[in-house]
Symmetry: none
Subunit: 204 residues, 4 copies
């Protein structure tokens, strides 16, 4: 009764929170935040409605958590790429591929983030906007460094470039998500997009 059962006794369901988040990402992606009922999340997660409130303050909090942890995860990886010592061109390409690649595996997360980033509920904007800006800032950082290092032309505002790049990737993902979306097509689109931006950025 002792020893070997220790682990399984402590917090039997430390994964419930995760299951709820994963389920929420799925249904938010499918139906949007407002059209999603809390009971749908619960059902998708295989828990009771009330259980969700043991892990989250309310429905908003679920979305906010997805934002924070989701974008957070993206940011972490993004920063690694951005701060690597690869040539700047490679870093830009990696950023694009990474996002597309990562999101290809986490398509729902992408959908939730890009779709709901724009929901205009004051509360959500409050949380989402700064995270979005951080995201942009990391990309802008790479551009800026590239400019300083003489790899990129210097007459472009790094933030504008970063926003453009983000928007381009986002739009490609959106169209891909709206259509049938086969992975190879997405990858090829990424290559073209990278080429377009790198030529646009190249110092002459």
């Amino acid at each position: 009764m002792a020893v070997h059962s220790t682990a399984s006794k402590r917090k039997r369901a430390p994964d419930k929170r995760d299951r709820i988040l994963k389920a929420a990402i799925k249904v938010f992606a499918q139906n949007g935040f407002y059209a999603t009922r809390v009971s749908e999340i619960a059902k998708a997660a295989g828990v009771a409605d009330g259980t969700i409130y043991l892990y989250f303050k309310n429905k908003d909090d679920v979305l906010i958590t997805i934002f924070e942890e989701g974008i957070g995860r993206l940011l972490t990886i993004l920063r690694e790429v951005a701060e690597s010592d690869e040539p700047f061109e490679n870093r830009v390409t990696s950023i694009i591929e990474l996002q597309l690649g990562l999101l290809e595996e986490q398509r729902d997360l992408a959908e939730v983030i890009t779709v709901n980033l724009r929901q205009s509920s004051r509360l959500l904007k409050q949380y989402a906007a700064p995270l979005f800006m951080q995201y942009i800032e990391v990309i802008a950082g790479v551009v800026r460094e590239g400019q300083e290092a003489g790899a990129f032309r210097q007459d472009l505002n790094p933030r504008v470039v970063a926003r453009s790049l983000f928007g381009a990737i986002d739009a490609i993902l959106l169209t891909w998500a709206l259509g049938e979306g086969d992975p190879p097509a997405l990858r090829k689109a990424g290559t073209h997009c990278a080429s377009l931006f790198l030529e646009g950025l190249r110092k002459r």
Copy 2:
């Protein structure tokens, strides 16, 4: 009593529909579609709640109308530019400036369209997606023609370029809308964006 005053003969205000649409654009931009109450639209339009239902089937119909007429207006102007006989570079620049310029004057419309295009309500997607695709197609057309005419490099998929361009503009507008957004800043961002894409597209 003067020259027959045609204008003064109208019964009530025949512009109610317009007032409602304008008001809706304003409040949707401010609070988002879902968070906006029909009564708020009515109040902003200076009409009674019920009046809205004399002109629109329901709340959804108001948004759909904004989409259709708003994007429709954009499309018309866009097509003129796209089919002009200016050099291709100029057309691309015009497309960007035109959109940013037009929307600068109609910031709320921009917000509504870009923000809500992605809302996942099935109904709305049904209406919005085809319009969005048309939009992309017009831009892609210019790119394609430019490629065929030898003005642009030919190794890029025109649709991917179009999506990237759309996304870039969209993201710039979004950031601008999220921030304080002064018009000069937007204009300058547009110039940089244009330069970035034109260099990226240039045949070498």
Copy 3:
């Protein structure tokens, strides 16, 4: 300009009130009082919505008027029959045939009265119940007189007989109205009903 046009000048539409009432009877019979929109009455009468309020205080008033004038008309005829000097058996038969016959021609009025008599809106009950009671009372009067004259058995409460008779006719009409309802069938049902009641009433 004078003489011959006098009549047509005075109150051009003294029939509007009638048209509205007739239209109301039709649509009330079809859809019931609550499910009928004032605009439907107006449309059926070929007048504008507002016109109804020139002749009636409100929607309730339209129904009340139908009750009063409709039952009033029935009562007048009924009283003539009830107070005739025919044999009592004939009077009872006439009452049945008259109602069925009259209503056959005014099926909608019948429907409105019998259906809506039972609507439980306080206001309507207030108006309808006394009229209903008068109606019953006229029939009861015939029974009572018949009893006093020795034509009918005297052990039955005249009011109970009157209610039973009214109810029987009402139910026959209702079933007839719910079904296909061809006039001959209704007439035959009336004959059977009369025979049933007359045998039941006969003094032995």
Copy 4:
């Protein structure tokens, strides 16, 4: 702790559905279906508005359920009487007394059924009419058998007799319900009604 108390183990009240139905019967009888607010039903049942929707699809569904279960209950008992091996006269008398007697104890149910049976909402008629016809048919069956067995005169259409009997009882109940309605008066009216019909039906 005592003998296992089965009853006390139930979560909440499992009788909510019944309480809602009973409350609905009461308020429908009082105010009519259309004039009754859902919140009034809820208040009368001592539950929250939303609770009603846990047990019924909508307001219509509450009324339909009352019809079905109410008339259903009546039908069950009616059939027992109709198919008993009592003399036919007794069966007819029982049918009358049973209805009046049963309804005397369930005055509100009577009111709801008889009043609203005729409401012309298409939906309701759809549900109510067939039940009504079944009801008539059971009574007609007794008459028909009585005729075949030689107990009743054979020149009357059993269905017409059944409708007349139903209508008579209905009208008596209606008057009783509209007035103060003391039970003894109702019982006496029933006796008179039975006598009237039995004499009317008697073979001579």
